[in-house]
């Protein structure tokens, strides 16, 4: 195809929808290794009670099939031009965040809707009402980790998420010629009506009756997280492996010129100010909100606020934005 024909193509993609899906790994033995203790010995982590099924599973006791993704809003693997892609800004505007004139490989979860939509967390308008997933497309997901931390001591972390949706999450990757590497931009949206963490395994000592289990559970109700990593135009997400086999995760300074990253840039005027203003106006921010956090209480009914226990109330981090981040690993 010549250039004019090619430019007429909007971007090709493949959509995926999961139809009548149930995932149940409770009969399998999964162990995660390579986490060591202070003396260098392996601390195996057993993964149990791993399931994904229709919402209303009562923490995995009843697994029914569910759809995930909708035919009009599927999971997608797209190859598109940077100028064709959009992200949702805090004020509801869709803005371009990826650089123009390059091809971007995008893996998306069911997208958010530009108009209309469903409540992302039922009964909690603050989380947004532009999710494409309806109640029939939300899932229950659970997993249990057993850490054999010391002789005779096993720590159990039993997670159960109720009515989970991840609409609007995506991962975008493209090649950055200035930096000579693969860079990206990612957004992880997690909407959960309930999120429970029980620190014991049901049926074991001190964890048999409903009251005992409730006392050992931490309840999150009406929670959502919009984690934004990277703003393609001036702050792409860089994940490098260094020459000594360690990794570096970096969000570079958006006002700097990537061709000359150490040179000074005056942000009070000119290109420096333009970059700063554009970044603060359009780069997506991270929000993590737990509308109710409770430890040791009891839910009177599914999806309802727990009573009793210690109520930590509302906890939130809103509008987190990085002007710079560099995380470098090293051996402990």
């Amino acid at each position: 195809m010549d250039d004019s024909e090619l430019s007429a193509v909007d971007g090709a993609g493949i959509g995926f929808v999961l139809d009548g899906i149930v995932f149940d790994a409770t009969q399998a033995t999964i162990t995660i290794n390579d986490i060591t203790n202070g003396s260098g010995q392996n601390v195996p982590i057993s993964v149990k009670e791993f399931y994904m099924a229709a919402a209303g599973s009562n923490k995995g006791t009843t697994l029914n099939p569910t759809n995930v993704g909708r035919l009009a809003y599927p999971f997608a693997l797209n190859l598109a031009k940077g100028e064709a892609l959009r992200s949702l800004r805090e004020d509801g505007q869709w803005v371009q965040t990826t650089p123009s004139n390059l091809s971007v490989l995008e893996l998306t979860f069911p997208s958010l809707m530009t108009s209309g939509g469903n409540a992302c967390v039922s009964g909690f308008a603050e989380a947004g009402s532009n999710c494409s997933s309806r109640a029939a497309e939300k899932v229950d997901l659970g997993i249990r980790y057993d850490f054999q931390v010391a002789a005779g001591r096993t720590d159990v972390l039993n997670f159960d998420i109720g009515e989970l949706a991840m609409d609007g999450s995506y991962l975008r990757l493209w090649g950055d010629s200035t930096r000579s590497q693969l860079v990206g931009e990612a957004r992880l949206n997690i909407y959960a009506k309930t999120f429970e963490l029980m620190s014991c395994a049901a049926g074991t000592t001190n964890c048999a009756t409903a009251a005992e289990q409730a006392a050992r559970t931490i309840y999150l109700t009406n929670s959502y997280a919009n984690v934004s990593l990277g703003y393609g135009k001036t702050q792409p997400l860089l994940f490098d492996v260094t020459s000594n086999g360690q990794f570096v995760l970096e969000l570079p300074n958006p006002v700097k010129d990537p061709n000359n990253p150490t040179a000074n840039v005056d942000t009070r005027s000119g290109i420096g100010q333009q970059r700063a203003v554009d970044f603060y106006a359009n780069a997506p921010r991270t929000n993590i909100v737990i509308d109710n956090l409770n430890a040791g209480g009891t839910r009177p009914g599914a999806g309802q606020l727990p009573t009793g226990g210690y109520n930590f109330g509302r906890n939130e981090i809103r509008g987190l934005s990085f002007n710079y981040l560099k995380v470098s690993s090293y051996d402990l």
Binding site: I35, G40, K256, N264, D266, T267, L320, N323, Y324
Partner: protein, 345 residues
């Protein structure tokens, strides 16, 4: 006529990628000594350690990472629930325009906040989680924010010259003791470095570690001259802060006055020379004694609720050091946003 598919049992496709056989047959199991053991363990940046103290068990995940960051959070609120003895609608930790690190508009450079060896620790009573803390082995840099409420243990060292301190002392005309103290402080001790310890307080000089709005000297706290003689400090010991006042000097200040706190020690040219150790943020359902990272025989008592710990270093110096002048006048907020705004970006 249509052929039916062969039955499952007879149709098995086997794909084998491995060809070379193993040579394990003659391996003899031998106990490894420590040096051999350390040879074969994989290198990794996460490890898990355990602890037990005061009837609680602890499990800690340590991350071998070095973080440099400059970030802004518009609203940081932890523990917004009704708490007895506190005003309704307040939170344990409530900071607007929170920022770590600072920026320089002229050069576009970032003055990053440094964190080393962060960890996540869970406290268990039996098999019940009673607390979780996120700690930083070392933290160094500027912490900024409009602090509405703070809960925790925030250790501050105030320092300054006698000459400045004297200017803040307002003595009533009949108060001879105050007048003579002022004379001494501004005269004999004008050039001496005074120091005082401050922490979260309420307006009456009581320690107020829960939802505090002020920072200052608690009742009974005295000034000292670190390099002074025993006699100097004896004299100072006669005068202690009471009801937020010491020798007619105001000793408690609203947290809102402080736009930025330096975490770690600054030298005279305002460069960071050492980091604060033992900084952590925790949530607990009961009072929990968390082990002090700086002194394994000590514990930090964190109250139920959300709690921020910015403690004294092992050598007794506080993580936050500010001058008396800054304490009285407030510390202006450092610029944490590029371009025109200096916060809220």
């Amino acid at each position: 006529m249509r052929r039916s598919f062969p039955s499952v049992k007879t149709a098995c496709a086997v794909l084998c990628a491995g060809l070379i056989g193993s040579g394990v047959a003659h391996a003899k199991l031998e106990e490894m000594n420590d040096s051999e053991l350390s040879d074969v363990t994989g290198q990794a940046f996460i490890n898990l350690t355990t602890d037990a103290a005061n009837g609680l068990n602890f499990t800690r995940v340590n991350f071998g990472v070095d973080v440099q960051t400059q970030l802004n959070i518009r609203q940081l609120r932890l523990g917004k629930y009704d708490r007895s003895g506190e005003a309704a609608g307040t939170a344990d930790i409530d900071i607007n325009n929170f920022a770590l690190g600072a920026v320089d508009d002229v050069t576009g450079q970032v003055d990053a906040f440094r964190i080393k060896n962060p960890f996540l620790e869970l406290a268990y009573s039996g098999n019940k989680v009673v607390g979780v803390r996120m700690g930083f082995g070392e933290a160094q840099g500027y912490l900024s924010g409009d602090i509405n409420r703070m809960t925790g243990n925030i250790a501050v060292d105030l320092y300054g010259k006698g000459s400045y301190l004297a200017t803040q002392m307002n003595c009533a005309w009949y108060d001879l003791i105050c007048a003579s103290a002022k004379g001494l402080v501004g005269g004999t001790y004008a050039n001496s470095d005074f120091s005082a310890q401050a922490q979260l307080v309420n307006g009456s000089g009581d320690a107020d570690p829960v939802r505090a709005t002020m920072i200052g000297m608690v009742d009974g706290q005295t000034l000292s001259i670190p390099s002074g003689s025993g006699f100097d400090n004896f004299l100072l010991g006669l005068f202690s802060s009471s009801n937020c006042s010491l020798l007619s000097t105001q000793t408690c200040f609203p947290l809102a006055n402080y736009g930025t706190f330096p975490i770690g020690k600054l030298n005279s040219s305002n460069q960071f020379v050492s980091a604060a150790k033992g900084v952590f943020l925790s949530l607990q359902t009961q009072n929990v004694q968390w082990r002090d990272q700086q002194d394994a025989s000590q514990f930090i008592s964190a109250l139920a609720g959300a709690f921020m710990n910015i403690p004294r270093n092992a050598d007794g110096s506080a993580a936050i050091n500010t001058s008396f002048q800054e304490a009285f006048n407030g510390i202006p907020r450092k610029d944490t946003c590029f371009g025109t705004p200096n916060k809220g970006c």
